[in-house]
Amino acid sequence: MKFRIALAQINTHLGMVEQNLDKHLQWIEQARQGGADLVIFPELSLTGYVLQDLTPTVAHSPTADDPVFQKLLQESRSLDIVVGFVDEDRRHRFFIAAAYLSRGEVMHVHHKLYLPTYGLFDEGRFFAWGDHISAFETRFGRMGMLICEDFWHASPPYLLWLDGADVFLFMSASPGRGLSAKPQLESARWVEQLNQAYASLFTAFVVHANRVGYEDGLNFWGGSTIFDPDGNELLKAPYHQESLVFAEIDMNQLHRTRARLPLLRDERTALVQRELERILNRSTQMNR
């Protein structure tokens, strides 16, 4: 089974959902014209990233009666769409979220699990921490979504892998930092290494959509990528420029790679569970 994926490496307007929605609709149309079956937007693609006190004013619920999602769901009848947004739950907690839309329905919503609140980041001040992780079925196979800091930690991708994800959809609004003599920012190098490593470790597809543009002094570096189950780079968008890039995902590659390299078959989950319980019990005692 093959399908065509588009990465919408966009810039956004800070706190302007209507303008960003218009841009999404235009890029979705371009993705459709480019033959995409699935188009992926970056983290917080409908709102911009450094929201601070704008957070409560840009929140939406991923439901058919929400004016923003109504239009996106309409578009999703002809191709699947992943968007980033601020989700306000019924108890009025705000989450950094990603929604997978397909055939007019919301197939899955992921709430960011890890909110970086250090260095230049202040997400924990404004957002609630997501508390669930699961893979989900799509018409192309089982997938999992993570948002930026989620995949700087090893456990969320691992959990998604065990939950059956063969395609990892990662979304970022990653500020560029770490200037050196190399022609690549350290933040870009770091993320690319992680994604290539996950593709290799999990013999799976790792798709990463990162945004571009500036917010005050922060630059977002783009460089969206897809790595295949052999850890090879299938696609790489340019750094720092808006671009819509396409790649074909051949799901039969999973068969070929895993026939050669049965890492998933040999993964000793019972051992992990047993040892994890022991380690966590012991560390609870040690921390007393």
Binding site: G15, V50, L179, S180, Y214, H240
Partner: protein, 275 residues
């Protein structure tokens, strides 16, 4: 001392900084930039970046000599103007500052220097209105950290492309962008009085202090770690103290908090809010 390499990829830096100037000036509703051109390397580089980002015709270079300013300063600024083809204007500050100077013949060099820096700020912000352009800053990371700047004077700007580059990195980028070599080579000076040089006044060279600042700030070394890395204890102490004492120049004046929502504490928005 182990090797501390401050080399930067100048193509990448140039791309990010030009994108920053173009995007942020445009989002603020402007197409033009105003740069105070002193004849030194920092303002020359800011002018080169602004010209590349916006087009030379959209950049106004302002020369603001005082009667005692060195002739080199004016000439070197002219080299930049001619090379880039930016718009330019020369507005001497002598007539603005002399009446203040004459009120106090005992006035120290520092006071006179600060008055001149602030007079130039007034001229620049006035030209900002005339040219409908934003004032592009010229302060680098070294001088910002050391506080080697006049508050509301040369530090005043609408946005600053150079503030995260150490002086030695400014030199690299300036060379890569084609800033005239005579400007890159000459000893850095605020040219506020005769014979003044940055390094003479600071008491150390940029090459030395940039490496120390890189360890202290970027690499989060403790002062003791820096001494163990080979820096003289007295030098480290002096620099650490300069950074601390000048922090007031790097933050907005604190507002006394009274209500539940106070500007600066819990009224938090980027400048790019809504654009």
């Amino acid at each position: 001392m182990h090797e501390i390499d401050l080399t930067i990829d100048t193509d990448l830096t140039r791309q990010i900084l030009c994108g920053f100037l173009k995007t942020e000036i445009t989002r603020a509703g402007f197409q033009h930039a105003v740069v105070g051109l002193s004849g030194g390397i920092d303002s020359a580089l800011s002018c080169f970046l602004a010209a590349e980002a916006l087009g030379a015709q959209n950049v106004l270079a302002v020369r603001m000599p005082y009667k005692n300013s060195s002739a080199d300063s004016l000439e070197h600024a002219q080299l930049v103007i001619d090379q880039l083809g930016v718009e330019s204007v020369t507005i001497p500050i002598t007539e603005m500052v002399e009446p203040l100077f004459q009120r106090d013949p005992e006035m120290s060099s520092m006071r006179r220097g600060n008055i001149m820096a602030r007079a130039r700020m007034i001229v620049l912000y006035d030209q900002s209105e005339v040219f409908k352009g934003l004032v592009v800053g010229t302060g680098n990371k070294t001088e910002i950290l050391l506080g080697y700047t006049t508050l509301y004077g040369d530090s005043a700007c609408a946005l600053n492309p150079l503030g995260d580059l150490y002086k030695t990195q400014v030199r690299q980028l300036a060379r890569a962008m084609g800033v005239p070599e005579v400007i890159i080579q000459k000893p850095p000076t605020a040219d506020l009085w005769k014979g003044q040089t940055d390094e003479g006044e600071l008491g150390f060279t940029y090459t030395e202090v940039d490496k120390l600042l890189y360890l202290l700030v970027d690499q989060r070394y403790s002062p003791q770690d820096c001494v163990e890395a080979g820096f003289a204890e007295e030098f480290v102490r002096k620099v650490v103290e300069k950074i601390r004492r000048n922090h007031f120049k790097r933050v907005l004046p604190p507002i006394a908090k009274l209500t539940n929502r106070t500007v600066g504490y819990d009224f938090l928005y980027l400048r790019d809010w809504g654009t």
